[in-house]
């Protein structure tokens, strides 16, 4: 199926700012789904609140635009009810790891088969540039006019510690790698987390003097490196991208089915 058939074309052009990376994530998702050959009727996309969450409205799936931080909780209700469906849960960094932090770690722990995509632009964009738990120490934001003293989470470490059985990081710059990683995440039987570093030139970029949208794209290239690269050994400040965790553990819906069988036998 051509990529355009997966989107609700009548809602384009999208609401995202020029230079925003979210559209690239949308594109990556469409390519991944196309490669897997999933049917639109078999996909449920659940999102929260924020710039990232608007992605659901553009996709021609069953789309559930929920409340801030709670996308994973809604998604678990859908998945436990219909384990045969493919669940995609795009979230922003504040959405997933600030207000939704508790749901995030518990979803990782349960290992329920769905794909969480953390679109990390290190800022609250929809509300106009406040610092998020991913902004990092020393950054500037409208709510950190003197400098941000909050340390940041590392999405990959957090998801790994939480028990996610697939953890990866990609960027909006590496557009060839992004669909491949998303495809592998969606195919993975269990809870998969993909952090996608995406630029927000409008707020994060302006506040932190990161230059133009093109400069910010360039940064995604120069500040990241494949996992275990020689460059990382020489320059530990580089952020690694690729697949960090991929392991097999009992999947939650399948485990629950065993509970049902046991209960029905009266044991």
């Amino acid at each position: 199926m051509p990529a355009r058939d997966y989107i609700r074309e009548r809602f384009f052009p999208h609401i995202w700012c020029p230079g925003c990376g979210h559209g690239i994530v949308l594109n990556g998702l469409v390519r991944a789904i196309e490669n897997i050959g999933l049917k639109k009727n078999d996909i449920v996309m659940v999102s929260g609140i924020g710039c990232s969450s608007r992605i659901a409205g553009y996709m021609d799936f069953h789309t559930l635009h929920t409340i801030h931080g709670r996308a994973l909780a809604f998604a678990i209700g859908v998945k436990m009810s219909r384990p045969d469906l493919t669940l995609l849960v795009p979230m922003g960094d504040g959405d997933a790891l600030s207000i939704g932090g508790n749901h995030f770690i518990h979803a990782c722990r349960r290992n329920i088969d769905m794909t969480a995509i953390v679109m990390n632009n290190r800022v609250y964009g929809m509300t106009g540039g406040q610092y998020s738990p991913l902004s990092g120490y020393g950054t500037m934001a409208t709510t950190a006019p003197y400098t941000n003293i909050d340390q940041e989470f590392d999405v990959v470490s957090m998801a790994t510690a939480g028990g996610a059985t697939f953890v990866a990081r990609a960027t909006a710059y590496h557009v060839q790698q992004l669909p491949d990683i998303l495809e592998e995440a969606i195919r993975h039987k269990g809870f998969s987390v993909v952090e996608v570093m995406t630029p927000c030139p409008t707020y994060f970029g302006r506040k932190n003097k990161e230059g133009s949208a093109v400069d910010m794209m360039e940064n995604l290239k120069t500040r990241t490196t494949p996992i275990g690269s020689k460059a990382k050994q020489e320059n530990p400040s580089l952020i690694e991208r690729g697949i960090f965790v991929k392991k097999e553990l009992p999947e939650y819906c399948a485990e629950y089915q065993r509970i049902v069988e046991r209960a029905m036998k009266g044991k």
């Binding site: 809602f11 009727n41 709670r70 678990i76 209700g77 859908v78 436990m80 469906l85």
Partner: protein
């Protein structure tokens, strides 16, 4: 009724009724005094192929049941005051997106952690206005286990009929007290099943386009129709809209679909109301004490009566006005600072004749408590 005779807690009666009504998905988080509902669901639901989930908190619990309801399940969660507070945003979402679900709030003393193991009826107005923004809500209660059973089935039926969340406001005494319950035979109480769309695959389906009778046929998430669900104001396709006409019409619809059906949503019981000079109005466990007192005083020749409300929201104002017309005094018996009292005063012709008989110390109000207050009102002294 020819059903099985049981000796159960109120929480158990609620579970039996929910299963009777066709519940097949429950998500919850432990909290006193509602926990037995979750425990029983964990045991019973898998036996019928249903789903029980213990979530990480009450916020996740209500979100999970909303997600499951969208796929066509009958769903419920159960909690108490602090958890009910956490659920308010999810509750508002279910109102806005018109997703059927049932939320049990077993009331305990509040605010805050309050009195976790003691009785209260302090969440009545939270049930009405805990959610931000204009909206309508259905909240039901009962004062004995047989009625807990039937009102719980009503809750599921109302939630499906009006595509709305329904709140069951029980209290600690009702939840933990044991008494007899006759479980009705299957089919004895009619059940309302979800109204599904008849629109065929490939034909445009409008999830928020009302039929002539105002109802919205649903298509299960994961089915043949793909659509959008959002907590934003939305058009008939479910897509966000800020069009003033769309916004106005949706808000009116959300309020009117409940407020225009007060008669159908009203459940109540009445005892000696006709000629009552002194009419008590009560609900939940306090209605038990009120009924005891009324029955006792009638034997002494006093003209007292009781109107027991089972539907608290939408408030049955017309019913209360009609039933109180001939009473000299109206006394609202409840375990809070006068939450239903406010609604009664607003409903009656002579609000200055409405008094409050309450207890707010975590102890069940007794018939003697009520009698003492009545004597004060009548100027007889205690």
């Amino acid at each position: 009724m020819g059903g099985e005779l049981r000796f159960v807690q109120g929480n158990e009666a609620c579970v039996e009724a929910a299963l009777y009504a066709g519940l097949d998905f429950f998500a919850g988080y432990p909290i006193t005094p509602s926990t037995e509902i979750a425990e029983l669901m964990a045991e019973r639901l898998p036996r019928k192929g249903g789903t029980f989930l213990q979530m990480e908190d009450e916020i996740a619990s209500i979100c999970a049941i909303i997600g499951a309801s969208l796929t066509g399940r009958k769903v419920m969660t159960a909690t108490s005051g602090p958890g009910f507070s956490l659920m308010q945003e999810g509750l508002g979402y279910a109102i806005m997106a018109e997703i059927p679900c049932v939320i049990v709030d077993v009331q305990r003393g509040g605010p805050s952690t309050g009195l976790p193991t003691k009785v209260s009826q302090g969440d009545v107005n939270q049930a009405r206005w805990g959610v931000h923004g204009d909206h309508a809500i259905v909240a039901l209660t009962a004062s004995n286990h047989q009625d807990i059973f039937s009102i719980t089935v009503d809750a599921f039926n109302f939630s499906e009929t009006y595509r709305t969340p329904v709140i069951l406001l029980f209290d600690e005494v009702m939840a933990h007290m044991r008494e007899r319950l006759e479980v009705p035979e299957p089919g004895e109480i009619p059940l309302v099943e979800r109204l599904k769309t008849s629109v065929k695959e490939g034909v445009d389906y409008h999830p928020y386009l009302q039929r002539e009778d105002g109802r919205l046929p649903m298509s299960d998430f994961g089915g043949v129709h793909r659509y959008n669900v959002t907590g934003l104001f939305h058009d008939m396709w479910g897509f966000p809209s800020e069009n003033p006409k769309v916004v106005h019409e949706l808000l009116r619809h959300l309020v009117d679909k409940i407020d225009n059906h007060v008669d159908k949503l009203t459940r109540y019981r009445e005892y000696f109301v006709e000629d009552a000079e002194m009419l008590l109005i009560s609900y939940g466990s306090s209605a038990r004490s009120a009924l005891h007192m009324v029955t006792d005083r009638r034997q002494h020749g006093e003209s007292v009566g009781l109107l027991e409300l089972q539907t608290l929201w939408p408030f049955p104002s017309a019913l209360v006005r009609e039933k109180t017309r001939n009473a000299r005094y109206v006394v609202v018996v409840e375990m809070n600072m006068g939450q239903v009292l406010q609604s009664v005063k607003a409903a009656v012709e002579r609000p200055e004749q409405v008094f409050l008989a309450n207890r707010v110390d975590g102890v069940l109000i007794t018939p003697a408590d009520i009698r003492d207050i009545l004597r004060l009102i009548q100027g007889k002294g205690v």
